[in-house]
């Protein structure tokens, strides 16, 4: 049958005037790389779940996107990642939440789906499971990206200047703090 692959790298206040031509090119190149990686898996006749992993891991390893290495910072100044995967033929699913040191969160979700009797695992337990599954564990500093950290500091500065309530009033969906 026909093969098909679709990806996203996040949505939000993305405005043409706020993205330089260089950033625009970088995003398009990385999205294309992810598409090609996933599609190549499908062309080889391999399962859709494997193509999903291939495409997402390209984006997880890029600091351009809010996942894996490009993750934003929590109010505590840490990186906490979530991921999920699901297969349509069996409706098997796996999910992880609150990971801080698994290099590829989507691979942890896959491991939960394929190698555990559970659907979702969280926090230290999920990380212990990932480690037992042989997934790559990294120091949390692997996820540190300066501009993401600077973004957290700007939000905290607004809170300091205006108070949390005022910050929430301006951005009610941002759940500041």
């Amino acid at each position: 049958g026909p093969i098909s692959l679709v990806i996203h790298g996040g949505a939000g206040t993305i405005k043409r005037e706020n993205i330089s031509p260089e950033q625009d090119s970088a995003y398009r190149a990385k999205l294309t790389e992810a598409l090609e990686a996933g599609y190549a898996v499908l062309e080889n006749g391999e399962p859709a779940s494997k193509a999903v992993i291939a495409a997402i891991q390209i984006m997880e390893e890029s600091p351009l996107f809010n996942a894996g290495r490009g993750s934003v910072f929590t109010s505590a100044g840490t990186n906490e990642m979530d991921a999920a995967i699901m297969k349509g033929e069996s409706r098997d699913a796996g999910a992880v939440a609150g990971l801080t040191k698994v290099k590829s969160p989507i691979s942890a979700a896959l491991a939960v789906m394929e190698n555990s009797p559970h659907v979702m695992m969280t926090g230290p337990g999920a990380e212990q499971f990932a480690k037992e599954q042989g997934l790559e564990i990294v120091d949390p500093s692997y996820f540190f990206i300066q501009n993401r950290y600077d973004a957290l500091q700007r939000v905290k500065q607004k809170e300091t200047e205006n108070g949390t309530a005022a910050a929430l009033a301006a951005f009610p969906d941002s759940k500041f703090g």
Binding site: H8, Y39, A84
Partner: protein, 134 residues
């Protein structure tokens, strides 16, 4: 947040999503990504979906499953169901973001109600296409 939905040669659909969450999120906050049916869903009979946006709204609207359910029980096409959920219901509810989805025939849709969404697709009849803005 990043996501991918794929249809393989055997006609199987898979969907996945991975995220770093939200800047300045509080301890223990979990968004829609790992909530099966909210941010991620796949069913060969209907579609696969990966979402991105304000997670709390996507959880309360069970966005990904709702698109599949509209196809399954209302007979809607993928595009009709996705547009109804993302461009109508989610907007009325106040949730901002978008989804990518594909069905068993390989049809693709990528609606979003925010300013932009990094997105792209490739299929048997098209080269890789990527988009950012509206």
């Amino acid at each position: 947040t990043v996501g991918c939905v794929a249809l393989d040669k055997q006609g199987n659909i898979a969907a996945g999503t991975s995220t770093g969450g939200m800047t300045n999120k509080k301890y223990g906050r979990v968004g829609d990504v790992p909530i099966i049916g909210a941010g991620t869903y796949a069913d060969n009979e209907t579609c696969g979906v990966s979402a991105t946006g304000h997670g709390e709204y996507f959880i309360r609207s069970v966005v990904a499953y709702d698109i599949a359910a509209k196809m399954k029980y209302n007979g809607m096409s993928l595009k009709e169901a996705a547009d109804k959920v993302v461009m109508d219901e989610l907007v009325d509810f106040g949730g901002e973001g978008g989804i990518i989805a594909l069905d068993k025939a390989g049809n693709i849709t990528m609606p979003f109600n925010s300013n932009g969404m990094f997105r792209g697709y490739k299929n048997s009849s098209d080269t890789a296409k990527v988009f950012i803005y509206k």
